[in-house]
């Protein structure tokens, strides 16, 4: 086990495991949002439960750590990769058709995702969970997240920003998911195409799930009851 994380494969393992953890979280978060689409009351009940539950808090801390490691190692690996490419660049390059666009642009896509996360945390997590923990007054009540969502997404700029964010997330996950599986080594000649397909399906389910909620609130049809 010595110096696993100083090796190239060890560093990639960190990207892989934290990435898989983050996509699981996305799935969980998306399911929770769908609750808001159906019933404001049910969503508020979930918010209340998560805000006061120590397991949820511990989960948030682990999630934050996973996110931070994922970002740090993305930069560490990118810097090394740029150096490995050498100082002179090709004057003509043609990417083979089989190379996914997302796979070549993971860092940029990741940066857009981070910007979205910052915006999102400042509007939701800070005003709800953090405010409750820190006892900040005048914030939105953790028990009335539904009302806040309704107001927040009714602003067209916000809705558009979220859709752009989700598009970047979609591209990032289509490559990231199967890439994480490949890094763990759980792949072979047959499964390589299957995992890529599963990645696209997973990314589509998650991102469409998020987008439906954003758009539904933006045009005012949610919550349904």
């Amino acid at each position: 086990m010595s110096n696993l994380f100083s090796s190239s494969i060890g560093k990639k393992l960190i990207m892989s495991v934290t990435g898989l953890f983050l996509v699981l979280f996305l799935l969980f978060h998306m399911s929770m949002n769908l609750v808001a689409a159906f019933s404001g009351e049910a969503y508020n009940a979930v918010c209340e439960f998560l805000g006061t539950n120590w397991y949820a808090l511990a989960g948030t801390a682990v999630l934050a750590l996973g996110f931070i490691f994922h970002i740090i190692y993305a930069f560490v690996l990118s810097v090394k990769n740029r150096k490995a490419r050498g100082a002179d660049r090709y004057s003509v390059t043609v990417k083979p058709k089989s190379v996914e666009w997302a796979s070549q642009n993971m860092l940029v896509l990741g940066l857009i995702v981070i910007l979205g996360v910052v915006l999102h945390l400042s509007q939701f997590w800070y005003k709800m969970m953090f405010a409750e923990l820190a006892g900040i007054e005048n914030s939105i009540s953790a028990t009335d997240g539904a009302a806040w969502i309704k107001f927040y997404f009714s602003q067209p700029v916000v809705a558009v920003l979220y859709i752009v964010w989700l598009a970047a997330l979609w591209f990032h996950v289509t490559h990231g998911f199967w890439s994480a599986i490949q890094t763990i080594g759980w792949n072979n000649n047959i499964w390589v195409e299957r995992w890529e397909c599963i990645s696209r399906i997973f990314a589509t389910v998650v991102c469409v799930g998020f987008a439906v909620v954003v758009l539904g609130f933006a045009i005012g049809i949610f919550p349904l009851c």
Partner: protein, 250 residues
């Protein structure tokens, strides 16, 4: 039918590893049935006749087996043909009047020696770190004395077709050598003779690869698409597996 063809080659010229290189254009007449390397030979003869320095490029077998030829031609390592080496590239791939750009492999671990020739000694060093079986396996055994599943034998053979040309590194935006190393690790890891030293081999070869400054694979699959031998990235998954297993066991 064989046709005459005149093309302009835009070739990277670089005096030595330290010198600043630049592109130079040369017009050369060839035929569609002439290979790309032969066309470079024709150009070199012209240059020598004119008293100019010929273009330095690597080649040896000229039949796709030794891995010596290289060249990044019109944006592709080994040129536009798939599953073929530069020495297997023919001028019929191009049109009369084409401008063809010819560059060396570009990667920090493969420094240019001169013109189009790069130093691929890093691959030899990785091989020397563990790409072999170090014990005596004895003479050829009786057939079927050591049963090996056909699927494993096929996968090992596929991995063993890697010719160590370095096109995977040249194609990779990260300058990663994972496809090469994975092929060299896989050809042994799949067979009983190679399993004995599998842990040591995976650890030593990856450590050497990291030390020599190759980049980290981000699974873009550009290597696999450009590899003249069609080495699959499934080998990279196997290498990851082998390496992690070896680390956890060590």
């Amino acid at each position: 039918m064989e046709k005459n063809i005149t093309v302009t080659l835009r070739v990277w010229r670089q005096e030595n590893p330290k010198a600043k290189g630049e592109f130079k254009e040369y017009k050369v007449s060839s035929t569609t049935d002439t290979s790309f390397l032969e066309t470079l030979d024709i150009l070199n003869e012209d240059l020598v006749a004119k008293g100019e320095e010929p273009i330095t490029f690597d080649h040896d077998c000229r039949e796709g087996i030794c891995g010596m030829c290289s060249l990044y031609i019109n944006g592709h390592p080994h040129g536009p043909a798939t599953k073929a080496t530069t020495c297997q590239l023919y001028m019929r791939r191009f049109k009369d009047g084409d401008v063809i750009s010819v560059e060396p492999w570009r990667s920090a671990a493969f420094p240019v020696i001169k013109d189009l020739m790069v130093n691929r000694n890093a691959f030899d060093q990785i091989q020397q770190a563990g790409g072999y079986v170090s014990f005596n396996c004895g003479g050829a055994q009786d057939a079927n004395a050591l049963p090996i599943a056909k699927t494993d034998a096929d996968l090992a053979m596929d991995a063993a077709t890697c010719i160590g040309c370095g096109a995977c590194v040249a194609a990779c935006k990260n300058g990663s050598a994972m496809l090469f190393v994975s092929a060299k690790v896989s050809q042994f890891a799949l067979l009983p003779q190679g399993r004995v030293e599998a842990n040591r081999r995976a650890l030593a070869m990856v450590a050497k690869m990291d030390e020599l400054g190759f980049g980290n694979c981000t699974n873009t699959r550009a290597c696999e698409a450009e590899c003249p031998k069609g080495i699959s990235i499934a080998n990279i998954a196997r290498l990851n597996r082998e390496y992690l297993k070896a680390k956890f066991n060590s």
